[in-house]
Amino acid sequence: MTWVNAVIQGILIGGLYALFACGLSLLFGVMNVINLAHGDLAVVAAYVALGVVAITHVPAVWAFLIVVPIFAVLGYVIQRTLFQAALHRSVLTTMLVTFGLSVVIENGLQQFLSANSHSIGIGSLVSDSFSIGSQITIAYLNLAILVVAVIVLLGLQYFLSSTTNGRLIRAVADDREAAQISGINYRHVFGIAAAIAFGTVALAGIAFGMFTQFDPTIGTDQLLLFAFEAVVIGGLGSLWGTLAGGILLGIAQEIGANIATADQVLAGQLLFLLILVVRPQGITIRREPRPI
């Protein structure tokens, strides 16, 4: 029964990982750039949520309504300025710029907000739960995060497949130059993708801040790594692969923790390495996309 419980808890935490990963996956799919500051942005969003709650006294669970739009705008602006200037030089430059941004964020947070851990207080909601049988306990918060993750992925799926901007994002991801001569301003499209990536990672960061404690270094130490692993396990460029990857990572971690608490992260890494060896394209990608 404890194993069943581990799987269930893994599925629940997997939603959070998918939420972290979808923005990373989207930006990589569109620009071929891994945003190494992705995890740190989530941490910043959690701090901003703390500040928003302290200043406006909105209930913490609704802080995302303010923080996510701010981050979406921030994403568009940073993409059109800092990232675009770097992309103009090369993809490698862009990765270095995101790495630099990561270092700046981490040290800035430590400098001005101390290395202390924080958590976004949501009162008793953090521990409220219901039980199935005697051994399986499901926390409302974890369930809510999973539901939010699925809703976000469904929304993203709809956006990409059925809206004009979503179509332009797919076109630019397919062939940037062909998109340009078809009349697309790819810089604007990159900006939209970055806005989505920043918005979703802000949501993930806030959810994480409610779920557990965060500090300035956790963005790179854990969140970026987990997001990256979820993307690779699931398969790059597949939204539902990202969810599957997040859930598998969560299950592996919970099973690891069930063996020994210290094995939690290790189990996730082992699954990640195993997937890289036996199925490097990810579990949901059937084959390499056929070149046209």
Binding site: E177, A178, I181, S182, I184
Partner: protein, 283 residues
């Protein structure tokens, strides 16, 4: 309309007196890194005509076309559309101005459906006769298969979608880059057979083609590029095979005919060209 078209072949019949061509290229120089791919090329394309660029591999034809489309920035020189300088515009802004290219190798969006490819082509579209429905009328098979992914189409069908994607932007000047590449001759003939319909809708065409006989068959004016320079310009009917051959391969022939010096170049191009390998270096 611009009245100041100064070109190297203003004395040519067919191009003479056309002050204010729709598309003007003035003394264009384009580099790929250290290598100069286009040397001081000037061109006038009057509205309602088909101009063809012929030349061997690496002669700079595609580079010239891509520069006109805005994908390459020229080292010097300018591109004018209806007298307005568009040299500083980005590719998508040139689409909005009316310069649209069908790129070499089709370059469709493989993960998008046929219809989505056409919809993307509408992004910066000008108003005009070409709608997605009009493209479906032009290629009757396309309507039934609009939901298919572009990657599932044959080469000829992909070329048709690529042309459709360009047409729905309602171009004033349509740039066609190597339409025949990788396609069966019968398909190529069918696609070139569409040109009269495009012209009738008000589109002006500048095309690049390695298949010389195909280009001569459809163009009202032919230019031959050799190592980045225009070595020949004239109406197809006036050009002899010998002239074309010498301009194409850079062999010094009898020296008569329509061969052109470049008005900016210090030495006539045929002398430079004749001293080097005819196949030329790939820029």
């Amino acid at each position: 309309m611009s009245g100041s078209a100064v070109t190297g072949y203003a004395d040519q019949p067919g191009a003479a007196g056309l002050a204010g061509a729709l598309l003007e290229v003035r003394d264009l120089n384009v580099h790929h890194g250290q290598l100069q791919a286009v040397h001081g090329v000037s061109l006038d394309v009057p509205a309602g005509t088909v101009h063809a660029m012929i030349g061997a591999n690496g002669a700079g034809k595609s580079t010239l076309l891509r520069t006109i489309a805005g994908l390459h920035r020229p080292t010097s020189g300018s591109v004018l559309l209806d007298g307005t300088d568009v040299t500083g515009l980005r590719p998508e802004q040139r689409v909005a101005a009316g310069i649209v290219m069908v790129p070499e190798g089709r370059r469709l969006f493989p993960s998008l459906t046929v219809e989505e490819n056409l919809l993307v082509g509408r992004t910066s579209a000008r108003p005009g006769p070409w709608t997605i429905e009009a493209v479906y009328d032009l290629f009757d098979w396309m309507r039934d298969r609009r939901g298919q992914h572009a990657a599932q189409l044959s080469g000829g069908e992909q070329q048709a979608v690529a042309i459709g994607r360009a047409l729905v932007a309602n171009p004033r000047v349509l740039l066609l880059d190597e339409l025949s590449l990788g396609l069966a001759p019968v398909v190529v003939r069918r696609i070139y057979g569409l040109l009269p319909q495009l012209l009738a809708s008000g589109v002006t065409v500048l095309l690049v083609e390695q298949d010389v006989s195909q280009a001569l068959g459809v163009a009202s004016m032919v230019h031959c590029l050799l190592e980045g320079r225009i070595t020949l310009a004239g109406q197809p009917a006036e050009l002899t095979p010998a002239q074309i051959e010498s301009a194409y391969f850079g062999v010094v022939g009898n020296g008569r005919g329509k061969r052109l010096g470049n008005d900016q170049a210090p030495t006539p191009p045929e002398q430079q060209a004749g001293s080097s390998e005819s196949s030329g270096a790939e820029p």
